[in-house]
């Protein structure tokens, strides 16, 4: 509980983080609707990108712990790496879910047309966990916070384009379309699409299933590293 609690405090203690955590989601609520694409207002499309940023912002705390050496103290303390990691992930997840709730129900409150808000929330939540898991796997590789963040920015850009969050997928050549399936962003896009045009409930759950597979995969990768 201690790790969870102080991870929350530290996440909110950083000014840049506050910007990522509060301002960007609020902006997302107010962005206009596009015609005929995307299915939901632009902000609800771009929120998928924001979540990727938020994920890495949060997870760099783990790099910070490594850089400032606190992990040394933790490694000799009577707690396990799993305990440490789950404390961090839980705190991040709480923040992410909170953001999703704000974006979805904030939108509903001001009358945005969101098709099926509850299912949208569920979709966002699962996707935000993927964003966290990828970030976790990412920071387990990097020693420096700045490099981790900078390189990840390019990765986010790449994933956002290729997943169809910025330009409609139909405009892509076939090869890229096939590659896109590998991107978690593609599955978010597919989910968003389903919320407006989808018919079979099963299609929605397939999207959810894939997102959870991604989460499990990346959390597993990210948890291999030792604490110190």
């Amino acid at each position: 509980m201690t790790i969870f609690r102080y991870t929350l405090i530290r996440s909110f203690g950083n000014k840049t983080n506050l910007l990522f955590l509060t301002l960007f989601p609020v902006i997302c609520i107010f962005l206009p609707q596009g015609e005929p694409w995307p299915p939901l207002p632009y902000g609800y499309q771009y929120f998928g990108i924001v979540m990727l940023f938020v994920g890495i912002r949060l997870a760099t705390l783990i790099i910070e712990d490594r850089v400032n050496g606190v992990v040394k103290r933790l490694a000799i303390a009577p707690i396990s790496y799993l305990h440490y990691l789950s404390g961090h992930l839980l705190a991040y997840a709480v923040i992410m879910v909170l953001q999703c709730v704000i974006v979805v129900y904030g939108g509903v409150a001001i009358g945005r047309e969101l098709a099926q808000p509850h299912l949208l929330l569920l979709l966002y939540v699962s996707y935000s966990f993927v964003a966290l898991a990828i970030a976790l796997a990412w920071v387990s590789i990097f020693r420096s916070k700045d490099t981790a963040f900078l390189v990840y920015m390019s990765l986010i850009f790449f994933m956002s384009i290729l997943g169809g969050l910025i330009i409609p997928l139909e405009m892509f050549p076939d090869l890229l379309k096939r590659l896109a399936v590998l991107m978690p962003t593609y599955w978010l896009e597919r989910g968003l699409d389903w919320l407006v045009y989808g018919e079979r409930m099963a299609d929605y759950w397939i999207v959810q299933g894939v997102l959870w597979l991604y989460t499990i995969l990346f959390v597993t990768i990210g948890s291999f590293k030792k604490l110190y």
Partner: protein, 315 residues
């Protein structure tokens, strides 16, 4: 009772041998000093002893357990003051302590009390709500020490805890360390400051290039290098000093007069200073005395051929 020990511990980094067959015991209730020049392997030894670094050979045992020295139960009884400052800059001093206290499973009122106790202990009682980012180097150091205290470890390992702390705070901390010992904490203390170790440690290990080159009480170590004591006395009228009378004292080896100063060399431990002074004072006025007792620094220098710390590095 032995609290911790190493037997034949070897640690290599590639082909470099950072710890070369280390053997020692730490006994309950003592302050044991660990001395060595830069790169001697002190931190590596500490990391091996706390389980931060796996060793290539040999055994480490903590609290009598060699099979599982780093069990959860043992970890609860172990405290480490790291050589680097390892605290959260974005949390206040108090939050830092609350965090580490919480990690060690302390709760509620007890946790609050221990945190306050630790803050007072290092003299940061009124700085609890400040962020260490705004602390001076010395204050950060002190917080770094406090972070290892809230869970009241039975064995406290301090890796150069006083680097960069002003002399006044250093004395405060040395007193605090002695108090910890008096309360039953066993302490392994590493420092670049000889005087510190000489002042608080009951036993000393000297390391160089990954090897333990000497171990013993401060007195024992000093004895090994020196069999003589030298006294220099500044007097007002040196021609009045009865040189042959001084030479007749048992144990005195040599008496020399140079200018206004007489030097007397006698066997170590003969306790001749008093006798020499009495004789000199009968004839002439004494304006100054220097008794050159060899100290740990001399031991160190004799053994390693190195100063523990470059002069420029000293403060």
């Amino acid at each position: 009772m032995t609290i911790a020990s190493m037997r034949g511990v070897v640690k290599r980094y590639g082909s470099y041998v950072a710890l070369d067959c280390i053997d020692f015991d730490i006994y309950e209730g003592e302050i044991i000093g660990l001395l060595g020049p830069n790169g001697a392997g002190k931190t590596t030894l500490i990391h091996a002893l706390t389980g931060l670094t796996p060793v290539d050979h040999g055994t480490v045992s903590l609290f009598g357990q060699a099979k599982q020295p780093f069990s959860r139960q043992n970890k609860e009884r172990l405290g480490l003051v790291t050589q680097d400052i390892t605290i959260f800059d974005e949390l206040t001093a108090k939050q830092n302590l609350l965090f580490f206290a919480g990690v060690y499973g302390l709760k509620g009122k007890e946790k609050q009390e221990r945190v306050k106790e630790a803050l007072d202990f290092v003299g940061l009682g009124d700085k609890g709500d400040k962020n260490p980012a705004k602390f001076s180097g010395g204050m950060k150091r002190r917080l770094n020490i406090a972070c290892a205290l809230t869970h009241r470890p039975k064995l406290l390992i301090m890796d150069e805890p006083t680097v960069g702390i002003d002399p006044q705070s250093r004395n405060h901390i040395l007193e605090a360390v002695k108090k910890l010992r008096d309360n039953g904490t066993t302490i392994l203390y590493t420092s670049h400051y000889m005087e510190e170790v000489q002042a608080i440690a009951s036993r000393v290990i000297i390391m160089d290039q990954g090897q333990m080159i000497k171990e013993g009480t401060v007195e024992q170590l000093i004895e090994t290098i020196q069999s003589e004591e030298k006294v220099r006395i500044d007097v007002t009228e040196p021609y009045l000093v009865p040189v042959n009378q001084l030479e007749a004292i048992a144990g005195v080896k040599q008496v020399a007069v140079a200018g206004n100063q007489i030097s007397v060399i006698s066997a170590a431990g003969s306790g001749n200073l008093d006798r020499i002074l009495t004789i000199v004072k009968e004839r002439t006025g004494v304006v100054g005395i220097q008794a050159d007792k060899p100290n740990l620094e001399d031991v160190f220098f004799t053994l390693t051929g190195k100063q523990l710390r470059d002069r420029g590095e000293r403060e």
